[in-house]
Point group: D2
Chain length 380, copies 4
């Protein structure tokens, strides 16, 4: 693991998620940009002290020197955005599989480069678009892509948060500090951090691609350097219309990612904060609430069933969704390592293509925000 | 009453709402464009047969001939949009107060003309933006306008329906037929019919004005002539950003008008289908669910208390909100008639200025939908 | 109308409900036990002053002297419980149809007497168990009685309120005062006032009869004379088990009547505070949310359709349910008056048999609360 | 670990929960009553094959022979109820700390014996009443016990499930089979399995003790040997009244444990299927929705904060609550092992006293179900 030092948020989530199912063991890491803190974290995590490295370059170098069965199988990258690319690149070049936080890179150029590197390697690259790990999201995906909704006409997707409604980054709060710093976070704040989840979710579930964007990005909090709110109109490649809005200044909203997908036959609704339920609506019938863990869900979506640990009514949540991404990624790594064929369902995790889409989305948003023209095309 | 003949929807709602509180009596009407049906409706409503008129012109003429105490006090206009203006104009010119359905007129030109007529008369003009009649909407309005939210930063307002997801207008369904007919409905379908409610609600609660619009209007159902879906970005006169989307093709959505208002101190959330609840959110405190009919609501909003008939937990709904518009309108008419001073809270009903805003909103949407330019200014 | 004077709650609800649909006109009344207040109320209601009577006896006497077409058709009784019987009896004996508030009488003896009087007359007697007027309750009734649930095994029904969590009756609050006074209210407070609604709802929906009760009644507020909380176990005549609990000291509960009915094939759930929704659950399928006003509801339950005024998504609530009882009652009175056959669906309103059940329920509860024996039989 | 072999449900939950936070490592086990299956499970779990034992006696014997630093620190017991006592006893007698599934033993006699053994040892005994591990339950406990509710008057607690609405135990379903078998499960089915959770939750949150019970237990499914539904009235030691109902035949209910606690100042409401929210209600103020992970929660309840892994809006659920019991238990074991003083908050996990209460509850229920007397006292 690279990142996840003292005070980090997402690194510890990676660890809990990776540990939960017993198939992944944390054996080495460069946990902090400060080598002393990295060592300290290694001790806290009961890592062999020789494998708590001063930095990621040392980690690559030394791990490579270990006999093949003792080396790390893959590296998880959970550092601020500006470091994603060089670290991922170096691990890939050294022959290690990689799991990387999103957004994938600092900019589109890096994303294209990384895309190329991954494609040319035969390595497994996973991107932590964790919300696609929810079983019910997989059910929605299977329904939407297999025609249950008919032709998709409209998508509304939102991701409002309220935690940055004041200048939190000036109070020493580490999470706020790097996320609002253009040098670490990239060209966009709110939209890069969470708007990309909304984008990814809409494309993941429907299989459609955003083709045109009209964006209005705003910095509401004085003294902030990156957008803390963004609203946009979307047009998808099949002609569907969309609305995507995200915010970090929406007081009282916690992590309210939600999506509504309207087809000409049926529609779907899902809310991240209540992730075990999918609302399916028909033109002239009762609303159906599909609930995780039931047989009728498993029959409709083997992928949802595979991503389910507990019986119905025993709620599963964020960490489990995260762990599902790790499970599929690890099974794929394991198949590659053992030269066996992975379960086709194991291939269901976000990867470098999704990461490139995310970077293109941010790029297009930023271009759209600057122009007086209504629609800005999103490149491939 | 003009309109509300056999098969009409909203006319009967007007009647139920006006009757409920006992202060308004229906004594005359031209209920249908077909004189025979008008007469028939008069009989069904137990109206004196001499006052079930063949048409509205006859109604005006004959009512004027009655002694002053026996005449109608005001006329309710519940016909398709294209008839609103001439009928309202003629009743006003004849000296009758008027309650009119929305959208107020067929186009902006008529709206400006009507605005002038009302302002020059000393008559009372009410516009049935019924959703502003909910007690909890009045509570929200008092909170938002009196500073509880701090400076308003963002407004998200939606009005999705699904009933026109097929070409219902070709099946003989009367409601669908006129609403999708440009000759009766005006330049916009979905946005004119329900988008205007969303616009009105956002301005009513916050006191802000929409200044710029970027719209994407769509006709999804083949063979339809007017938009059945619309999404837009908004900019308000205080700098607040907004998202407004409405639809008639969102399968499974019934009448899902809802609004989220985010200030820099607090935020609000309200859903029309669950109208007795207001969600108030603070930066670091529990979400508050304010429930209609409680003392703490009355203390915060006398207008909400005035609009409340039942104790808490005894739900009030659509017809009661409608009736609240009528109550305030009728109290104002009564005060005008008796030359007394109305209760200031009685003046709280939508009127010709709101109607003009609605028409300007539609006009701006249509202009925006046609241009490649991102922002289109909304005139005053 | 008898009752509904200044400060009364339910009398005004009766008036609004009866007025709403235009088929019932209030023409006479003895509105208050204080004759001056009765007269005053008559003026406020614009009743002909000769028909605002000093008391109900005068009302009967004088109305009988009017020519048949001018007399009242029926009397609504909305006074405290101890007056229900004599007033109902006298109106019935004078040949008037009667609509009466619940609980029907002061005790079982009166209830049996009234039952006999109604059965021997050929008059229409309606009992205002208003919650059975909700369209969705009628849908539930049709489902439960027509076998959709299979054999019913268990019923949980609750009616918690919190408004009497302090000694409100000593503060001059009129509603609290008579409801907690054994001389006006009868042998039970909470259970008589609202427990009977829960009892009635469970029997109305399922068609089952409570056969045995085990009750625990409590007075929590010091100085109060009647139970303000009650919990009981039930056994129904088909072997089903039940739990019924009601309360007036459950702080924060408003009017939270709700019922869960479990069959061996399906189950139902309904909440009075969200009356437009019925949850239908199957062993291995999504939860179904049936929503008022849809075609699929009308097809399943013509009674629900008949009780519906507005399209889906336009919420209906308490007053409309109340009005539905009045509509059916009035249609039945009208048929009786005109010697025509009423629509069979019009006969769907609570009547004297339901009232007797309610009184027997209260009686059994009181007996059970006093005994150390687990089960107390409920008589017929 | 003893139990958790192939096909087991709760054993794997124990493993995931114990693994998640990195502080507990599974090193040995007797996973199945069939020694071959135990070995097989050991392999699947990558346990050193010498420590995948044939049975628990062998496990005790061999672990004791290992040097102290290499032995297991504690044993988790996740087998059917009838085996809890002998296994727990033997591990305790061998000097190992124990974490045990609930209900704690097969009957009260065993429970008293185990209670004595634990008290006489200086070992740590944890009981997996997992629902007390939810942060929001800890918040509720702190509120209720520290007086926020005032004097508690009424408790309603429910635990309906529907999975045993048919004779599932005859289909080969392993979970159903042992839970409905009196020889493995004990004298009660539904109430022993889940009713005890409801009992435990009500006492854990409030600090009150159930003193008297009036129970109605039923076997609805023909051919079943133990109750599959139970309803009871409760009286608590402070005079509070209660209703507790649980079921395994309530079709459509999944794992709907929920509790309502009414004090004379405030009331609380919590639902296990939506575990991140606590509803706090006051006599005259908005309902408050307290949401996990916020600062205001941490301030009110340090125990809730300690039990929280993720920021607000990132839902936590069942496994995390389970893991919280393990964390506190393991911290206490660690303190005992290292002879340090544990964090006082670490002592917050269910233990042998809670287990004895649970067995007494079942015993009292069974006695009450048989008698014609209304109230049966619950012994201490």
């Amino acid at each position: 693991m690279v990142g996840g030092g003292p005070g980090a948020f997402i690194g510890e989530v990676h660890r809990k998620a990776a540990r939960m199912d017993g198939g992944i063991e944390l054996v080495a890491g460069a946990f902090d940009i400060n080598p002393r803190k990295s060592k300290q974290m290694g001790r806290e995590l009961c890592i062999n002290s020789r494998r708590a490295y001063h930095n990621y370059s040392e980690m690559i170098e030394r791990e490579l020197k270990l006999p093949q069965g003792e080396r790390i199988d893959f590296a998880s990258i959970t550092v601020p955005n500006n470091w994603h690319f060089p670290i991922a690149r170096d691990f890939l070049k050294a022959g290690f599989h990689v799991m990387c936080e999103k957004p994938m890179t600092f900019n589109v150029k890096e994303a294209r480069a990384l895309h190329k590197i991954v494609k040319q390697s035969r390595l497994v690259f996973g991107l932590m678009h964790n919300y696609t790990g929810y079983p019910i999201v997989k059910l929605a995906r299977d329904m939407a892509r297999q025609g249950d909704l008919g032709k998709i006409r409209k998508i509304v997707v939102q991701y409002p948060q309220g935690w940055l409604s004041t200048l939190l980054e000036k109070t020493g709060q580490q999470q706020a500090a790097w996320r609002t710093d253009p040098k670490q976070s990239g060209g966009s704040g709110c939209m890069g951090d969470i708007g990309t989840h909304a984008e990814n979710l809409s494309e993941y579930i429907t299989g459609l691609k955003i083709r045109e964007i009209c964006a209005d990005l705003t910095i509401f909090v004085k003294g902030r350097k990156l957008d803390d709110d963004g609203n946009c109109l979307l047009r998808f490649n099949n002609g569907a219309r969309g609305v995507l809005h995200a915010s970090q200044i929406s007081i009282g909203e916690e992590n309210n990612l939600a999506i509504w997908i309207y087809g000409d036959q049926r529609s779907l609704e899902w809310h991240q904060e209540h992730p075990n339920y999918l609302y399916v609506k028909e033109p002239n019938g009762p609303v159906q609430v599909w609930r995780r863990g039931n047989d009728y869900v498993a029959v409709r979506s083997p992928a949802a069933a595979r991503a389910t640990r507990l019986p119905f009514g025993h709620p599963e949540a964020f960490i489990e969704a995260f762990a599902n991404i790790y499970c599929n990624f690890a099974d794929t790594v394991r198949a590659r390592t053992t030269r066996t064929k992975p379960d086709p369902l194991a291939l269901d995790f976000p990867t470098v293509g999704d990461g490139l889409r995310g970077m293109l989305f941010i790029d297009t948003l930023l271009a759209s925000a600057k122009t007086k023209q209504k629609w800005t095309k999103m490149k491939n």
